[in-house]
Structure formats: C-alpha cells, structure tokens
Amino acid sequence: MQTQPPGLRPRAPERGPEPWRDPEAEPYVRLRGLTRRFGDVVAVDAIDLDIYRGELFALLGGSGSGKSTLLRMLAGFERPDEGSITLEGQDLAPVPPYERPVNMMFQSYALFPHMSVADNIGYGLRREGVARAEIARRVEEMLELVQLGGLGARRPQALSGGQRQRVALARSLVKRPKLLLLDEPLGALDKSLREATQFELVNIQERTGTTFIMVTHDQEEAMTMATRIAVMTDGRLAQVGTPAEVYEYPASRFVAGFLGTANVFEGIVKRAQGSGVGAAGALVESTAFDAFFASDTDPPKPEGGRVFVAVRPEKMRIEKSAEGTAHGTNALSGLVRDIAYYGDFVMYVVALPDGSLVRVSRPTETRMTELPITWNDAVTVRWQDFATVVLAQ
C-alpha cells in the first residue's frame, strides 16, 4: 500500500477532460437555489451546484454544515423548501425515493439484519420485479465486484466491518443507479482499513462508470478520492473545486483552515500589481507588525483594501538567524516556542515579537535524532511569493 501526497488522486492519469472547465458541457446533476429549513435553522441555504457525469464529487464540511441534508434531499428523504434538483434534465422534486434512479449507501450501512447478504443485495432488484435467475446472476456479479464471492448466504451480523461496508456498496450499486450517494462511506472503518478502501471505492467507481456524490467530514478522504470537492459551512458552499485548487487556492480563511493548516495574517493592500519580489502580483502590508507579504497573483481588493494572507506551513522554510532580526518581505523572525515531531516532518511553532504564532513544517529528509533547530532558537521564516495566498475574507 503506497501512500500518496494529498492533491494527487489515486486514479489513472488518462481520465480525459475535466468537464467543469468546459462551458459547453451539460451538467448531469443540477441544483438551483436549493434550500431546506428546519424551524428557524436554514440547513441548506440557496445552493447552486453543477455535477458532471462520471464525477466522484465530495461534499466536505463539519457537523451541521448541511452536507447530509443536501444528500438526503438528493435521495428524496428530505423535501426542499425552495429550489430544484434535476438529474439529466429530469426534475427530481416530485419523484418519491422509491422511484428515483438514485441509490444511497448509508453511514450505518443499514443492512437488513433479518436477510442474508445475497438477499440484502437482491432486495432492490426484487422490488423491480426482476426475474429470479437474473437476480441471482446480478447478485453474484456484485459479490465478485466487491470481492465477497461465496459470502452470499451469510447474515450481515456475521461479517466484519469492512465486509459489511462492501455489502452496502454492492446493494446500492446493483440497480445500476444513475447516481450513487455515499454518506460517510468510510466513517465506520478503522484507520488502516480506510486507506485501502479509499482506493477500492475509486476503482469501483471508475469500473462501473457511476457518478458518485459522497459526504464526508474527513478532508484527507475528500482530497484523495474526489474529482472535485465542495466545502460546505452553515448550509452554503464555501468553495467548489478540484482538491488541488481548493488546497492551493483557498477562497477564504475558512477553507484555508478547514483543509490542512494555514498561517493567516491580516494586512492592507499596498500595491495591487507589478510589485513584490517577483515584480508581479500584490504587495500587502501587515497590520500587526512591520512586515510585507508579496504574492504572485492579483489581490482580491484594490489598493488600501483590508485583506488576509494565508501561507501553508510546508511552503515555508525555517533557518537560524541572529536574535532581534527585523521582519522583511515574506520573512518573519522570532523565537521557537514549540516543536512537534511527527516522524515524516517536524512542525515548528515560532513566536513573533508581537506574540503571534507562525507554524512551519520541515520534512525529515535526513535521519535526525537531534533537531538542528531547537527551543528558544532565534529563527527567520521565509517563503516565496507563490506561497502567499491573498484572501478577501
């Protein structure tokens, strides 16, 4: 089992074009103004979203972000208060759950305890009135697909957690739904099983060609599996994009902090373009201390506007410097306050003279038992202008 850095999906590179970049492409699932309220709480707030055929789309958010409600509206268990859901141009609103060409894999798996594995998988086909021999054939096919051949006669409670998860997947796929909804598909698995299953899920998705929409609170799961991620908070979409886009170009402080770690500073736009280290992009002056942040992109606000600057710890470098060294452009000086050793990298927490903290990570490229930089060392943290992300909010 080979681990991969976040941002790279474990899927074949020859995936073909990215339809969301093509203005001509017809969306497969289209949400417009979708709203659901529970009393005074707006669980899903006027969401517009297009999802394309063959995607593995992740809805990422914390609890109460509205992601599960959105999924349940797609399945038909919740009725939207406003807005529309269309699938291949067909309006889904008046279609009850049992007539939707959409299936769902439940977080609890919801396997029927009084039926065998095969009967669980065949349940949906029986409801369609498929001939018995055909049901048996397709159930067998699904069991093979999820590598559970020979376990059809077992009861779900006689299976391990990982096996149950696969039965749930097989049961939701057997009707060949136009859309498969997955509610925290890996949430009930332990960590070691989860990683292997991520790849297997992506594999099955590509083999069956089904469009998946998955809900998760686990950013790593969303990053490694999804074609695109929608980050949700308070019933709204904070950002929609590919994992790399969302990680490298977060749209807000919330997204920057929700996916991975980010150092965030407040500042005023000094020059909007043609400035900075690389003589392109924006220059921002810190409001907290005497330093500048240079970026290679244009800022979201004109000169004089109040903005935020986000810099990821792994894009910073840390080096020893003389005590009392002044800050500069994309350079901050301070004392090492804390060190956390993770094995594959070390996280330094640097305290600036004004008290604010900066996190810097450093890969452990060499074997070190004694760290070259230690507590209370005077250090300077530097980064290049491509690492500076300027945010409006």
């Binding site: 009850p96 769902m104 977080q107 919801a110 949906g124």
Partner: protein, 269 residues
C-alpha cells in the same frame, strides 16, 4: 459490586419470595384433598375434576378465551398502528392529544374506563340503535381500546431501537411505504408484536372491572364467575384453575422468551 452489596441480593430474594410464595401456595393447595387451607390431608386431583365438571366456569372460560383472542388481535392492529405513528411520524397536528390518548389508558383507574365505556354504549344505543344489546361485542371493544395502549407502548419502544435508516434504505432501493413496512419493519418488530399480543390477551383474560361494566345479561366472563365465587368463600376448584393458568402462562412466556432471544440475536447488527 454485587459482593460489596450483599443486602441487595437479599432484598431481591425477599422480593421474589413475596411474589412467589402465594403462587406456590395456590399450586400446592390445588392438590390438597382437604377443603381447608390449613390442613394437608393428602394429594388429590379431585379439584381438577370438580373444575372440569363446573359447567358455569368452563363455559365462562371458553367465552373469555374467545373474547381475549379477538380483542388481543384487534388491539395488536390498533396498537401497532398507534405505536408506529408515535415512533415514526414525527410531529403532526394533534400529536399531543394522540400521545395523551395512547398513554392515558395505562394508568386510568379501571372503574373510570369501565363506567365511561358503558355510558358511551348506552348513549350510542339511544342515539343510533347500536349496540342493541351489550355483551361479547361491547366487552371486546372495551378490551381492544385499553389493551391497544399497552401494545402501542411495546411497539413504540421496540421501534425506537430499530434504526430508521433501515426503512429508508428499503425505500431507497425501490420499496413503496407498505412494502417497506411488510418486508422490513414488520419482521424486525415481530418479537414485540408477539409479546404485545400476549400482553393484550392476558389483560383481556384477566379483566373483571371493565367487563362487568360493559357486559350485558348474556355474557359472563371467567373473572366475573371467579369473582362471585370468591365472595362466597374460597374453593379449591379455583386453586386448580389458578394452577392451570400459571402452568400455561409459564410455558407460553418461556417459549416467547426463547423465540425473542433468537429474534433479538438476529436483529443485532
């Protein structure tokens, strides 16, 4: 914990003794040749024979069994619907009243239930001519009404343990609401339905007060016969009757427990 609190086990033992000594006494006395409860004059089946030959008792028992079977079945249907509504329908207009009407019969003094139902039947007979004569039908309706509350409570608490996503999953896979109920909900709450039916059956079989109010001249149930016999004094025939009932209930309950254990093992995901 148990070893540190021996008096708790003692209290439990004392409680069981309090519950079972009178019952053991009934069983013992039913085999006593003597009519007196204080003297044991030998083992005998004579009271069982006397019971068998007591036509009034036997026919009352048969009538009670008939009423209990019908009313337990009615209470099962009504109570299951009510329990399902309470457990699965969320909030709807009139739910508070509905919940109150389902829970109240559990504690309502029997004399009130009995009197109020009788007055209803009398008023109905006056107003619409039905029921023309009180008897088996009116007793059955009364029993269905108060036993349904017990069934509803049993079904509701069982449904609370059944993960609602099982029913959603079935619907997601194409099952219409009634198919979901028939293929998923019903099999999963079957043990609760069995014990609910048994409970309703016993309640009906055991009821004296409500039956006395709602009965007419033609219908005399077993508790009514036993009650009037008891007022005249103890007869060992009644001890024999008690012993038979205790034996039947014990067998039925242990069977139900065994079935319940199998079913609950199957329901454990």
């Amino acid at each position: 914990m148990r070893r540190r609190l021996p008096w708790l086990s003692l209290a439990l033992g004392a409680g069981y003794a309090f519950l079972y000594l009178p019952i053991a006494l009934l069983v013992l006395l039913s085999f006593n040749d003597s009519r007196l409860v204080t003297s044991w004059t030998g083992f005998s089946f004579r009271w069982y024979v006397a019971l068998w030959n007591n036509d009034a008792l036997v026919s009352a028992a048969l009538l009670s069994l008939r009423i209990a079977t019908v009313s337990a079945t009615g209470a099962l249907v009504l109570g299951t619907l009510a329990g399902f509504v309470l457990a699965r329908f969320g909030l709807f207009r009139g739910r508070a009243l509905f919940g109150a009407m389902v829970a109240a019969p559990l504690v309502m003094p029997e004399v009130i239930t009995g009197l109020s139902l009788l007055l209803l039947f009398v008023s109905l007979a006056e107003a619409v001519g039905w029921p023309g004569e009180r008897g088996v039908t009116t007793i059955t309706i009364a029993h269905v009404t108060f036993a349904a509350a017990y069934v509803a409570v049993v079904v509701q608490s069982r449904l609370a343990d059944v993960d609602e996503s099982l029913e959603e999953a079935a619907m997601d896979l194409g099952a219409r609401p009634w198919t979901v109920f028939g293929t998923i909900t019903l099999p999963l709450i079957a043990p609760a339905l069995a014990s609910g039916w048994l409970l309703a059956f016993t309640l009906s079989l055991d009821d004296l007060v409500i039956a006395s109010f709602t009965s007419g001249p033609g219908a005399t149930t077993l508790p009514m016969v036993v009650f009037s016999a008891m007022r005249l004094g103890l007869t060992p025939e009644l001890f024999a009757l008690a012993t038979i009932i205790i034996a039947l209930v014990t067998v039925a309950l242990f069977l139900a427990l065994r079935l319940g254990r199998v079913a609950s093992a199957a329901a454990r995901v």
